[in-house]
Symmetry: C2
Subunit: 317 residues, 2 copies
Amino acid sequence: MTTEKFAVGVDLGATTVKTGLVAPNGAIVYQNKFPTNGWLGPQAVFAQIKISVDDALTHSPSTNISGIGIGAPGVVDNEGSVKSPPNIKDWHSVRLGNEIHQLFPTLRVEVENDANTAAIAEAKFGAGKQHPNFLFVIWGTGVGGGIILDKHLYRGPSGGAGEIGHISVDFNGPECNCGNRGCVEAYVGQRYLSNRTAQKLQSHPGSKILQLAEGNLTKIEPRIISQAAHDGDALAREILTEAGTLLGVALAGVMNTMDLRISIIGGGLSEAGDFVIRAIEESVRARVLKPLQPEIRVLQSLLGNNAGILGAAGLVL
Amino acid sequence: MTTEKFAVGVDLGATTVKTGLVAPNGAIVYQNKFPTNGWLGPQAVFAQIKISVDDALTHSPSTNISGIGIGAPGVVDNEGSVKSPPNIKDWHSVRLGNEIHQLFPTLRVEVENDANTAAIAEAKFGAGKQHPNFLFVIWGTGVGGGIILDKHLYRGPSGGAGEIGHISVDFNGPECNCGNRGCVEAYVGQRYLSNRTAQKLQSHPGSKILQLAEGNLTKIEPRIISQAAHDGDALAREILTEAGTLLGVALAGVMNTMDLRISIIGGGLSEAGDFVIRAIEESVRARVLKPLQPEIRVLQSLLGNNAGILGAAGLVL
């Protein structure tokens, strides 16, 4: 046992709740992972967070806990209400901090948008340490972002900044869940990538993707495509190169608008390999205004999936 | 004669140089307008600025001049270099302040991006007075922008922020001058609107546009389409409603990314009538994320074409 203060960092995702026990130096001494159960509604999600945090607390080397930080999907306003997170049923506006505080009355609870927490983690501990201004992108099930300006999180007037997934890259494109058309997420998010992969597998029966999905097309998800690409599968690389190029279209618009040069890509798909980071970078550089081109850089997250936990813990460390 | 200090505000546009003599209270006591002559290169543009400023100075009610402020197109970096302004030939990176200071050695000269100066003018004197956070859009020959956060100009790390005209709204769209594809400016800027109008006029021979262009299709420019729409011409309204809807696609991406709600539209096309402002607003509201929708507002500039002069003068007032 130690008397060092630990923080609980909860990375609430559309599919999984990941909780870590984080030391003040940023070391994750324990972490777990549970399903989010978003299709069962908010109460079920609170229950999963409770299970995940309880599990982490039983593994704490210290009883000295500084609090629970939560990175949540969707907009988190200045009052801590989490609004309309994608893929969680019947969740319109929930004061998530209050809800979780009721389950852990002795602990301080702070909530921030998951992409924002990951951006903070990247700025403090990761690929953003050298860069005072950057856009952080989470590319996994969906596409989210967080903006760091002059080493600080830019939350926007009401905390919603960084929602780059619903930038339209084709005004006439397919309708997105959000109501817009041609959102970049509708092209490079889970649903599209899985469908496109399933379609292409018909003419690529030898692809490693099929093997990783155990022959079951409904099992295809970004993690599997990313893994296959990482292992050198040509089809997976082709699909992710295309997707990275499209993601770059949206990022170029953000670079132009905000006068930024650096994008840091996190989330499951950022781990597919350097080729996908290069595909995004080439696309951004080709599409931004000329004065920005020489300084455009797209970097891979150095924290990987830990960025969410680290940034969330950072809210209460 | 008065001893009050006046500022010279120069609005350097792609087609015209407009210079105003501005009193400290924001009143423009004199203004003129000369062709930019951008196709003749930088030296010719300096000469036009000289003519325009000289003319303004001869009309000054006071010999007490605080300096010359210039709003210039293109990126203006932190050292005052104006980089790659569109539609000016052979202009890569020019220290415009130094060049003009050589022509007026006794006067202080300050340079800022034209859209940024107009945004400042709008925040101080115009439609932005009530709104601490907004995106200002210049919609005329091209599409530019300036971002006001917490009542201050957001210049970005190197002064290039607000370049929204080259946000792609169709990744597969027509190639733009800038090298990107499907830029919103390539859909709603002068070239496209003029071509589209000329094309549509073939089946609308009675349109007021043709009358204002004196029957000459090559004379069609945004000012004429705007004027015709203002006078109730159905074709002009149809074309600008379509364009406003497309402009809204790009603005929605900026609202989502930066967590903004307010857009203020200036430039020649903003004066076509309330219908075009409403078309932009409907498009933005339909396309932003749900939490932003109720607060989305698109406002018309209150300063109109004077925003450029007022903001430029503001740099030295």
